[in-house]
Symmetry: C2
Subunit: 104 residues, 2 copies
């Protein structure tokens, strides 16, 4: 469907993509974490896109099984949410993923 | 104003009150923290109250200066948000406050 294609193009076209909401502290946390390791994510603020934001969130759920924000992709691969990304960082595997994706 | 009185009655009438939103992970985190130290907070889910939820959130901002959720009160006193409450717990001062308020 059109919106799913949009998502695939986006996550394929940027090393790091975060689907986010501007008012959400978990979204802020993951964006801040990525910047703190020297990466500038491509951010899609779903709450600022009107009805298209809801379509994107539904498409993301179809594609990844995840209905929540933040929704993080690295190198086109679905990583998960805030907790998942923080866990990878605590395990030391986040930065290697980012290097491999050409994000840093 | 009427809504500010409602807030004052609520926070005066329960040892622990959390103004929350059901979809918000920071709200979930603070509710879970309080339960983990043996306290059952009185929870007001602002997103489930329709327009009254927005009135309450505005009243809380007038009364506390805090426009965000979660908004935590212990013993009728404004404590802050999720980060503030977690910090008190890390400093060891959360549980004494709860005991003093008669919450546990
Ligand atoms: N454990 C997940 C929690 C994700 C979550 O519950 N996100 C909330 C916002 S904090 C959400 O998407 N709620 C529904 C919505 O905003 O549409 C994570 O770490 O990302
Ligand atoms: N540092 C604050 C952050 C509070 C915050 O930014 N809350 C967000 C939700 S996570 C909020 O209220 N956004 C505006 C809204 O939902 O009306 C805390 O720890 O509670
Ligand atoms: S909306 Fe509060 S943490 Fe996401």
């Amino acid at each position: 469907q059109g919106t799913e294609d949009t998502v695939k193009k986006t996550v394929g076209g940027h090393p790091v993509v975060v689907y986010s909401k501007t008012w959400c502290s978990f979204s802020s946390e993951v964006k801040y974490l990525l910047k703190s390791v020297g990466v500038e994510p491509f951010v899609v603020e779903l709450d600022q896109l009107g009805p298209q934001g809801q379509d994107l969130q539904k498409a993301l759920e179809k594609l990844t099984g995840q209905s929540t924000v933040p929704n993080v992709f690295i190198g086109g691969k679905h990583i998960g949410g805030c907790t998942d990304t923080v866990k990878l960082h605590q395990e030391g595997t986040l930065e290697p993923l980012l290097v491999e994706a050409g994000a840093k």
